[in-house]
Amino acid sequence: MGEPSRDDVFELRARGVRVEQRRVREAMAWLAFALAMGPLIYALLVASFVGWQRPEWFYAMAWTSWGAAVVAALATRLQALRYVDWGACDVRVSEAGLALRPNGRDEWTDVGRSVAWAESRLPGTAHLHLDDGREVELSLHEPRKTNALLAAVHARPRRLVTRFRATGRGARLGITAVSLHVLISQLVGKLSVMTHLQALFTLSSCLGVIAIVRWRSLPPRLDVGNDGIKIRRHRVRRFISFDAIEEVHFDKTVLTVDLKDDTVERIEVSQENAAELRAAYHRLVDAKKTYAHAMGEPARVALLDRGGRSMADWRDALAKHVVGGDFRRSSLSVDDVEAILAAPNASAEHRIGAAMAMRIADDDDDAVRRIRIAAESSADDDLREALLEVAASEAYDQHAAR
């Protein structure tokens, strides 16, 4: 059995590995959705632009389509579609992600970019949750191995990333309601006497309702960092600093975040995501407490202000404060800079400035590693990208060489 090494690479051997796959299931779900709504949309489109005279084959087509939709929806529940069985494998967990090496092979296969969190539901098994929301089930048969793996995953100072599965309840309800309504009150007789404008309005309303229901039932994504949370629904992302959060409430499958600006963020997940949501809630509460008790910014933090300067000018100004030849001019110590970089309640500008100062003062792998750790701990995408950019930049080499 492997132990966490200096490079944070953890390896072990599992007797069985099953990797969840989502693409086929998601495709089946979309197919079910299209089949369920197809007859309705077809009829409304024809009524809107051509004029509706119900063809004799319409109901046969509609019932066939709805039947196929039910079959496709049920097929998404099949276990055979849910997991890919890898058999006995070597497992490697590292900063680079999760890699598997099946029996009899030499090369490693990357399975996921990163492991977000892990749990053990049964003794001797471990479930790893990847950043992209997939789940990997490991049969280890030894609680000692399981504990070591969970400890290795959770020891990394990294934000918690979740990606819940769609609840589907709202979507099912909405689609059923809209379908039944249109079927009963519109398709049977009324569609043929509608004006084009009425049919177009009905079509727009139905599509609007479907879009709202679909959006409301989309699986949200919740990231919990040490500086706040990020909620992502479809393409809408929102970073919320812990400063802006008033209260957090959790009830089995619902997480409610009351914000100080009188708005509420509500995340409702299906029962199968309850464990993941609970983990996110506990992480959120812990991180919020840590954030509240985090050390404030040192008085000299203003030296890290960008002040509207260009990146090059900002870098040069920081260099004067951190590595001035005269110790009296070196007004920011490396300890100060490290503290600001690691402080979750420091402003993004100051943390980026601190990262730049660290690269200038101590341009070695350790500084880069610390900056990456700070970046991976943040739920703020913009800050993380900026910090990673600082860590990867070659512009600091010249300062280090001076």
Binding site: T195, L197, Q198, F201, T202, S205, E246, H249, T256, D258, L259, D262, T263, V264
Partner: protein, 254 residues
């Protein structure tokens, strides 16, 4: 100016009284045992009166749901007998009472922590009434998207029937504008009430619209029923208002 702030229970209570009054005046005035053609009909009439009495005098949700179901049955069973019972506001009142039954009102008289636990979510009943109001306006728009209405002819005919008789002044352009404005306002109300910043303005616009309907057209009951739905928008929708309600509850509970 914003909508008058009410607690969820105050809103439910107000709606309950309002719906009870409409049930008595709109249905109670037309429904009597002489209309019964079978024992089942007589039982339904008696059931309606018992439920409506319970709705008026008690706080139980059962009475609200029961009255709603009884009204729906009355609509279908006695609609042919008396046209007043087959108007769509009877059906609207029935569904409103069923939705309202999903929101508890018990405990408003004795606000202790045990009987009045703080609520975190908007009441489902009030939420459904808000949805119903939007659907109402959406169907209002749908029914008006006809050449007869959009050309102003329908409004002109109503004006002839209700106000001017054969002395209708030459105001056709005004009727066309009024027809399109009505459709635009109803469409805005169907969607815009859900937008927090638009809500105060649109709520006032909606009130004016329904007061106008009640004064100018013979649709008083429907107008009052639609206006009552606006009370559902006065209940807390924000975290701050919920927190205030919880603080009030805790303060009263000692």
């Amino acid at each position: 100016m914003t909508l008058p702030p009410l607690t969820s229970r105050q809103a439910v209570l107000g709606l309950r009284f309002g719906f009870a009054l409409i049930a008595w005046s709109q249905v109670g005035g037309h429904l009597h045992l002489g209309m019964a053609r079978s024992p089942w009909h007589a039982a339904l009439i008696v059931a309606f009166y018992i439920m409506a009495t319970g709705l008026s005098l008690t706080w139980g949700r059962t009475w609200s749901v029961g009255t709603g179901i009884a009204l729906a049955l009355v609509y279908h069973v006695f609609g042919d007998h008396d046209g007043a019972l087959q108007r769509h506001q009877v059906w609207l009142l029935a569904s409103s009472l069923v939705w309202l039954g999903l929101s508890p009102v018990e405990g408003w008289r004795s606000p202790t922590a045990a009987s009045w636990p703080p609520r975190r979510e908007t009441d489902p009943g009030l939420r459904l009434l808000r949805v119903q109001l939007s659907v109402l306006y959406a169907f209002g728009v749908l029914h008006k998207l006809t050449p007869a209405f959009l050309s102003g002819d329908r409004l002109e005919a109503i004006a002839v029937e209700q106000w001017f008789g054969s002395d209708l002044p030459s105001l056709h352009v005004g009727f066309v504008a009024a027809a399109w404005a009505t459709v635009g306002i109803e469409l805005a109300l169907a969607v815009g009430l859900w937008h927090r910043s638009l809500r105060p303005f649109l709520a006032r616009l909606g009130l004016l619209l329904h007061v106008g309907f009640a004064v100018l057209l013979p649709v008083q009951t429907f107008s009052v029923l639609a206006l009552l739905h606006y009370v559902a928008w006065c209940a807390p929708t924000t975290a701050k208002r919920r927190r205030e309600e919880q603080a009030l509850t805790r303060a009263w509970a000692g």
